[in-house]
């Protein structure tokens, strides 16, 4: 499996606070990788560094064989990194289809083609029936799906999902899990930040656990959940002894 995304020794400081410290991870083509860890572990920072919201204080980010460390978010999207937002950022005054068309315009400059692509993505994500509804009228679970649809319309090689399954009902979460699987089946690599372990673990091929800004453990989900270090990070020392 060839490497699609690689971070090399990334350190990110926010006026004295070290959010990420010497983080080196890699994501292979076609993988679903879960980025997990307790609150304040630095998951969101790492995520935003990969998406281009921040430029790291040290280290570099390589995507598809190219150094993208200094590229702004728009340029990274053009190179094939799509993302969703943890706090949904729909274009509220626009309809669902128009939201997705905005994404589709990255690769389709002719309006008719962008529109066709957008309809295609809405079918794929199960939002077709809601195409003409205003984004502001969607229920929360639909808004999450719209985030994914919009990012998919940019035809990414790597899809970054920021807690898309958090806060959903079990049924909604299950639909989400299936959607992520289908996304991967189309050949798109997925890197997802998640809080809810039970949902993520069966879904991902590999899990990377962050704690206190560093990579704590990395490996198969079944191994990772049993790792004493991970249990300590999540639950504290007392529980690690029993494990």
């Amino acid at each position: 499996m060839t490497v699609l995304l690689e971070t090399r020794g990334i350190t990110q400081r926010f006026s004295g606070l070290v959010a990420n410290s010497d983080v080196s991870i890699s994501v292979g083509r076609g993988e679903i990788v879960g980025l997990i860890g307790p609150n304040g572990a630095g998951k969101s920072t790492l995520f935003n560094l990969i998406a281009g919201v921040y430029t790291p204080s040290e280290g570099s980010i390589w995507f598809d064989g190219e150094d993208v460390t200094r590229l702004p978010p728009a340029a990274r999207c053009q190179r094939g990194i799509g993302r969703t937002f943890q706090v949904v950022k729909s274009f509220e005054s626009m309809s669902v289809i128009d939201n997705v068309i905005v994404g589709a315009l990255v690769r389709n400059t002719v309006m008719r083609e962008a529109r066709r692509k957008a309809h295609e993505v809405l079918e794929f994500t199960g939002l077709a029936a809601r195409a003409r509804v205003l984004a502001s009228d969607l229920v929360p679970a639909e808004k999450r799906r719209l985030e994914v649809a919009r990012a998919l319309a940019t035809e990414p090689k790597l899809l970054l999902l920021d807690e898309v399954l958090t806060g959903l009902t079990p049924t909604e979460a299950q639909t989400g899990v299936e959607l992520v699987r289908r996304v991967r089946d189309t050949g798109i690599t997925v890197l997802m930040v998640e809080h809810v372990m039970e949902i993520v673990m069966p879904l991902v091929d590999r899990a990377i656990v962050l704690d206190l800004g560093k990579v704590l453990v990395e490996g198969k989900p079944t191994e990772v959940v049993r790792d004493p270090k991970v249990i300590t990070a999540y639950l504290g020392d007392r529980h690690a002894v029993g494990a």
Partner: protein, 328 residues
Amino acid sequence: MDKDFTNRRRRELVTAAIFAALAALVPLFVKDVYVQNIMVLTLMYAALSQAWNILSGYCGQISLGHALYFGLGAYTTALLFMKFGVLPWFGMLAGGVISAVIAMALGYPCFRLGGHYFSIATIVIAEIALVLFQNWDWAGAALGIDIPIRHDSWVTFQFTRSKLPYFYFALVLACIAWLVTWWLEDSKWGYWWRAVKDNPSAAESLGIDVFNSKMGAAAVSAFLTAIGGSFYAQFVSYIDPESVMGFQFSLLMALPAVLGGIGTLWGPVLGAVILIPLTELTRSYIGGSGRGVDLIVYGLLIVLISLARPQGLVGLFSRSNPKKAVSR
């Protein structure tokens, strides 16, 4: 689905054509010069407000300094004609290009400002330009420019005996501004602008160059505004800084769109049709002594609208759901 959309687009175009045709017939029945004058101004402000709407309504960058581009258009045309004998048609084009370039030069620092700070900057810049023109001797300073009258003709775009040519030109101008907006609405620019307005960081994550999108909107908006200014200079044939670059023009360009529906295709037209006759009438009947009664009237209108119909008056015309007007 796609058919739905194409049909709606076509319907809009047909509706506009019908309105334009009806408007073109009005002077056959209305011979009163005073009323014709109001009609010319109404059409001009419909065009200007449509231009303002591109930057401020669609792209969300609220400008309260569009008087600058209006004035630049008027001055470029008048100066080129008076000093160099350049026909107003070329002056109009030159004014448009100059304004677009200046809009981008000003946008370069200003688009880095967020929200209200951008609006404040536009006011300040327009006021500075006003003062500069008041002190620029070559351009007539505070006394202004009397555009030399040659003879009534479309070549020099001067008509002293009839207002009709101005009326028809203003109608064409309003139609052009509407058509440009209509076309932009279903272009990548239109989508970029609305995305930038709604959520800049999401727009960026979808590959949109937010800064360039704003620059594009500013250029188109300033170009069209300057054309309106050029027209105004020909129409009144006398300009001075206060009468083409005063702050009230910035307001008069923004208010029709706000009243009719900001960021909508029909908002500026609807707003201008209601607001401009109202302004002119209040000015001539109760204005008189002190300026500003007209401003009080539509200040009141704006307050009422923002309380009852924040999406603007176009919301009244959409079936059942007021939000449909802005959705597509």
